[in-house]
Structure formats: structure tokens, C-alpha cells
């Protein structure tokens, strides 16, 4: 494999890892606060549709992005209402949200655009354009570093850079601020936080809303940056892969980055089965690459490669009066 192909694969890895990373960080905030969220998939899907639909109608991708985030926030609030206010089962609520999104996006897309559950193709300002980083063209001729800078670092849409910057930001927010300490505490021992006079309900709603914003970014990225428009079921299980990455990362932001890059790399490889055969001389089944993130997660979950311990109060509604 030559440098250009290698860079192409890494470039695709970054592109495909971005939605996973955004969704994974979304789940990280929610689950660290003790709210399990298997509805990442649904929130991404709704954000993808609404952002593409609004971007098409308004002609501005930024308005689309805001609308997508708002749509994901609505679903987040429903999840919060079910799992915080009404102390319902968080897993069931997540399942319901995924179905709600899968159904509503197609029903509404068909009603608005009449194209069999998709939005029209997005063009021009209705889509995020790749950014060229400074000096990318000038430095291109330097061996190795030049092409790497030009092909890999430069030329992504703004959401990709946002996603990668969110990793240190999340790590700082969770591990170096009072808000982060409280957010983690509410997922480990909510009663202690309650005793300290902090509202468990407010902390958990805050976490769920952050989760909504990040899912909104992830969905908008899919429909307005990675692809040019919404198609039915376009998240294609990415919400679940993000969930897998979250476990793989043991609920830590930096590990989440590596887990998402790994799963993104697997997705990039699955698109180029010819390359694997040319490189290692063995024909690897595409289906195996598709299933690998899930298989790896099960192995991690089984505790054979380091134990993944979820936040202790995860999934449990907090009951104040006893």
C-alpha cells in the first residue's frame, strides 16, 4: 500500500469516526450522569432529517444545524421526562425513541418532500463545505508531512474539527470543573449529591440536554456534511456502534476518541475490501468487518480485556423520599 492509499484510508477513517465520536461523547455525558441512553441512534436520525430538511428549505446549512440540534433536544427532553421525572425504565424509553425517530422521519419526509422518505439533494450553502487549512497547498510538496497535512488534516468540514476539539473540552469539563465533578457524582452516588444540596434532577436534565446537543451535531454531520441529504435509516446503527465505543472507552473522553477512530477505521476498511486483500494477502469478509465493533465490545464487556465498569447509579431513577 502506498502513501496516497494509506492517507485515503485514514482520511475516510476520520470522516467516518466523526459521527461516532460525537454520538459517543453524547452518550458519555448522559451515562456519566446515570442516565442510560440507547436512544442515541434515534436522536441522530431525527437531527439528520431535520437538519437536511431545514437546510434545503432555508438554503442555509447553519439554520439546518440549529434545527437539527433543536429536534434532538426535543427527544432528549422526552427521554429526560420518562427517565428522570416519571422514573420510568431508561432502556425502554431509549428503545421507544429509536422507533419514534425511525418512523417519524420517514412519515414526515414523505409528507414534506414526497421522495419516498428522503430529502432532496443538498447543494451549495445548504451543505457544509470542506475547509482548506492554511498553507495546505504550499506545504504539499514536502515529502510525507506535506501530503499528510494536505490530505489528512486539511479538507474536512468544520464539524469534524469541532468533534475532535470536543474531546479535550469534554475531558476538561468532566474532570476539571465543579460541574463535571457533580455530573460524575450524580451517576455514581446521587444521594451524596442530594445531601450536599445539589439538585439531582437538574444535574441529570443538564446531562441529558448536553447529550441532545451532541447527537444533534452528529446527525447534522451525517446529512449535511458526510452526505448531501437525508435518506431513510441513514444512521445505519451508528448510534449503537457509538454505544459500543463508549463501553470500549470505559466512559472516558480520550479513550472514546481512540475507540471511535478504531471503529471508524474498520468502517473505512469495509469500504475497500480490495485493499486488505492486496496488503495482507487474505480475503477478509466484509461482514466480519461490519460485525467486528460489536464482537470487540462483547469481548470487552465479558471482561476478558480489562473490565468496563459502568457508572454505579446508571439506569436507576433517583427517589428522594424514603
Amino acid at each position: 500500500m502506498d502513501l496516497t492509499t494509506f492517507l485515503q484510508i485514514l482520511d475516510a477513517t476520520v470522516r467516518l469516526a466523526t459521527p461516532l465520536l460525537l454520538a459517543c461523547l453524547a452518550g458519555l455525558f448522559s451515562e456519566r450522569a446515570g442516565i442510560f441512553d440507547i436512544g442515541l441512534e434515534g436522536k441522530m436520525l431525527v437531527a439528520a432529517f431535520v437538519s437536511a430538511g431545514v437546510a434545503f428549505v432555508s438554503g442555509s446549512v447553519w439554520i439546518g444545524l440549529l434545527a437539527g440540534i433543536a429536534a434532538a433536544l426535543v427527544l432528549s427532553l422526552i427521554h429526560g421526562l420518562a427517565s428522570i421525572t416519571f422514573r420510568g425504565n431508561q432502556l425502554i424509553s431509549g428503545v421507544a425513541i429509536n422507533f419514534l425517530a425511525a418512523g417519524l422521519t420517514v412519515v414526515v419526509a414523505q409528507s414534506w418532500f414526497g421522495q419516498g422518505g428522503r430529502t432532496p439533494q443538498l447543494e451549495g450553502a445548504a451543505r457544509f463545505e470542506p475547509l482548506t487549512l492554511p498553507l495546505a497547498e504550499t506545504l504539499r510538496d514536502i515529502p510525507v508531512i506535506g501530503p499528510a497535512y494536505h490530505d489528512l488534516m486539511s479538507g474536512h468540514t468544520i464539524l469534524v474539527y469541532v468533534a475532535f476539539l470536543l474531546v479535550p473540552l469534554s475531558a476538561w469539563l468532566l474532570f476539571a470543573t465543579r460541574f463535571g465533578l457533580r455530573l460524575r457524582a450524580v451517576g455514581e452516588n446521587p444521594a451524596a449529591l442530594d445531601t450536599a444540596g445539589v439538585s439531582v434532577r437538574n444535574m441529570r436534565y443538564a446531562a441529558v440536554l448536553i447529550c441532545g446537543v451532541l447527537c444533534g451535531l452528529a446527525g447534522a454531520y451525517l446529512a449535511t456534511a458526510l452526505q448531501a441529504g437525508f435518506v431513510k435509516d441513514m444512521t445505519a446503527g451508528r448510534g449503537y456502534i457509538a454505544l459500543a465505543a463508549l463501553i470500549f472507552a470505559k466512559w472516558r473522553p480520550w479513550y472514546a476518541l481512540w475507540a471511535c477512530l478504531l471503529f471508524g477505521f474498520l468502517q473505512a476498511l469495509a469500504l475497500r475490501p480490495d485493499l486488505i486483500e492486496a496488503t495482507i494477502g487474505i480475503k477478509v469478509q466484509v461482514q466480519l468487518l461490519d460485525a467486528l465493533p460489536y464482537i470487540l465490545t462483547v469481548i470487552i464487556l465479558a471482561g476478558f480485556v480489562g473490565k468496563a465498569i459502568p457508572p454505579r447509579a446508571g439506569g436507576e431513577p433517583y427517589v428522594k423520599e424514603r
Partner: protein, 373 residues
């Protein structure tokens, strides 16, 4: 003291949840510019207005009884098996292997063989997550989700690379041989003069599903194992103290759950398609969650809820055929049912409890007088 009479818990709450879900669905239909009342009439005539419609309704219901029972059995031991979809896919694989590679003399023998294979394959697919939960403490919800995807990839691989007949482009097995074809309701009940259920896929598997309901009822409430499962679901520490082995209960209940989900395949793979195609389960594994929640994990409730969802599926297909409402509307209704009967249960329950508490405080004469006023 009971906060509410039992009938309110079993009948009233699911009914109110269903009404709320229907109202919201009606709003969705209104919002996309169709008339909800006309839509409902079309669904009723399409799904229940002819033996053909009933034939489809009951066919879908058969799938949902199996997957609903699967979720319900796991619920009794307080486990959430989201893996019904993957287990049903593997059940389909079992059915396909048995039907294709064993020369059955008669459909009745083939049915027994296929049922065993479907149950075994489904159970095996549930056994791995169960084992990991029991011995390593891996969360069963996450592992069963992962196993759904692994099952999809596995079947994709097998159908594309191994089981596809030579020269065929479509990722599906060959058609099953003639002696494995199950009698449909048309074969059983239709006559020359009265061609009941003609063209509908409902088949003898429906009776197996009904038998499965009765068997699950007997298991949960009439056997020691069922008692242990319920005790474990009620309180794990209590059950442990009473000498119930948690590993055994987790394994056995997930085994039964997976077997039930797998058995769905005798209906859709053997009874209807008569070959194994990609994505044969078509989401029925997930509908089992809605069915079990709606039916309050009781086999009779599951039966009724499965008929309701069968009606929704057939009615939804009719809607998609005759109006501009896409089939996905059913997915929305399904989501709302899961939301209201599952996650937002307390939204309905708490106000109702208050109503019943108020009724109890007031002496019967007072309530009668209040009602009169």
C-alpha cells in the same frame, strides 16, 4: 395496602396508554394532511373486514406472540432481552438448514424438526449473552443488542457466500422442498364453495403460538421453575437467600426466551416465505417488546396485544396501499405504545393512584352524592 384495584393495573392503565398513543398517532396523521377517522376505517376493513385480511392479521400476530412471549418470559426474571430480532434470525437459519438438508417424508414431521431447530438456534444465540450476564456481569441489554448486529452480519455472510444456490443473484436460500410446506388456513378451512383465507399466509403455526401461550402461563405460574424465576425477578438478594441459584435462573430464562423468539421462524420462514431471505424477521423481534409491555408480561395479555399489533401491521399495509400514509406510521404507533406503556407508565399511574386514593377516602355514599352533583 394496594394502591389500586388489580383490574385498574391490568386493564385500565394499558387502555389509557393505548388511547394516548392512538390520539398522538391521529395527530400525526392529521399533520400530514390525512383524515385519521378515514384511516382507521380503512385499517379496520383492510385487516378485519375479510378472511383475507384476518389471514394477514393472524399471520403477523403469530410472529408477535412468539417474540412477545420471549420478552415477557425474560421480564419475569427481570431481564430485558432486546435480542429477539437476532434470535429470530438464527431461528430462521435453523429452520432453513433442517428443511433444506433433511429429506422429510411429511410436513408434520418436518414441523417438529423445524420447531426444535428454531428453538435450539434461538436459544443458543441467547445463551451467550446470558452466560456473560450470569458469570461476568455483562449487561444483558447491551450484549443482546450487539448480538443482533452480529446475527445480521452472520446471516448476511451465510446467505451471500454459502447458502445461496449457484447462479442466483439474490441473497436467499433455495426454496424449501414440497414436503416441508406447512398447511395454511386456506388449506385447513377453505373449501371449493367457500374459499376462506385464500392467498393469506396464516398457517398452522398459529396454533403452536397459542399452545406456547398456554405453556408459558403454566411455566410461570404453575411450576417451581416459574416461581423461582419470578422470585429472582422480584428480588435477586431474596431469591439468593432462599437458595435459588442466580446463574441457573438467568441461563434457563434466557434459554426459554431465546427459544421462543427463534420459534417465530417456523411461521415466517417455513410457513410463509418457504425459504430464508435476508432480514427475514423484519423487526418482529423488536415489536415483541411493545407486545410484552402492552400485555403486562402475561401470556393472555401478550396474545391480545399480538392480535392488536397484527391488526396494526395489516392495517398499516392497507393504508400504504390506498393512501399517501407510508407504512412507517406503524413504527410511530409502535414507538408510542412502548413509550406510554413502558417508560411513561408512571405518567398514567400516578394520577390514577391519586384518583383511587381519593375515592377510597370518601365513603361510598359521598362518592355517589358527588357523582350526582
Amino acid at each position: 395496602m394496594e394502591k389500586m384495584p388489580k383490574w385498574a393495573d391490568v386493564v385500565l392503565i394499558p387502555l389509557i396508554s393505548l388511547v394516548l398513543a392512538s390520539l398522538l398517532s391521529a395527530l400525526v396523521i392529521l399533520a400530514i394532511g390525512e383524515n385519521p377517522w378515514d384511516a382507521l376505517k380503512l385499517m379496520v376493513t383492510g385487516a378485519l373486514g375479510s378472511t383475507y385480511g384476518w389471514g394477514y392479521t393472524l399471520y403477523y400476530a403469530t410472529n408477535f406472540i412468539f417474540t412477545g412471549l420471549a420478552v415477557a418470559v425474560a421480564f419475569h426474571a427481570r431481564m430485558f432481552n432486546i435480542g429477539g430480532e437476532g434470535q429470530a434470525m438464527l431461528g430462521g437459519l435453523g429452520v432453513a438448514l433442517v428443511c433444506l438438508f433433511i429429506p422429510w417424508p411429511h410436513w408434520s414431521l418436518a414441523l417438529i424438526g423445524a420447531t426444535l431447530a428454531a428453538a435450539l438456534f434461538g436459544a443458543a444465540w441467547a445463551a451467550v449473552p446470558a452466560l456473560l450476564q450470569a458469570t461476568r456481569g455483562s449487561h444483558i441489554v447491551i450484549t443482546t443488542i450487539m448480538f443482533n448486529f452480529i446475527a445480521a452480519a452472520l446471516l448476511n455472510y451465510l446467505l451471500v457466500n454459502q447458502l445461496k444456490p449457484a447462479g442466483s443473484m439474490e441473497p436467499a436460500t433455495a426454496s424449501f422442498p414440497e414436503p416441508t410446506h406447512l398447511p395454511s388456513f386456506h388449506d385447513l378451512f377453505g373449501t371449493e364453495a367457500l374459499p376462506l383465507f385464500r392467498g393469506a399466509p396464516v398457517n398452522i403455526t398459529f396454533f403452536i403460538a397459542v399452545a406456547a401461550c398456554i405453556a408459558v402461563w403454566a411455566l410461570i405460574w404453575r411450576t417451581r421453575l416459574g416461581y423461582e424465576m419470578r422470585a429472582f425477578g422480584f428480588s435477586e438478594t431474596g431469591a439468593r437467600y432462599a437458595g435459588i441459584n442466580p446463574t441457573r435462573i438467568i441461563m434457563v430464562s434466557m434459554f426459554i426466551s431465546g427459544a421462543l423468539a427463534g420459534m417465530m421462524a417456523i411461521n415466517n420462514v417455513m410457513g410463509e416465505a418457504e425459504r430464508l431471505v435476508l432480514n427475514a424477521a423484519e423487526g418482529a423481534g423488536f415489536i415483541g417488546i411493545a407486545v410484552a409491555l402492552m400485555g403486562r408480561s402475561h401470556p393472555f395479555g401478550v396474545f391480545l396485544a399480538a392480535i392488536l399489533f397484527g391488526f396494526l401491521y395489516q392495517g398499516g399495509a392497507e393504508l400504504a396501499l390506498w393512501t399517501s400514509i407510508p407504512r412507517e406510521l406503524i413504527v410511530v404507533i409502535q414507538a408510542l405504545v412502548i413509550m406510554f406503556t413502558g417508560a411513561l407508565d408512571n405518567m398514567v399511574r400516578w394520577p390514577l393512584e391519586r384518583v383511587f386514593a381519593a375515592l377510597r377516602r370518601a365513603p361510598p355514599g359521598d362518592t355517589a352524592r358527588q357523582a350526582a352533583e
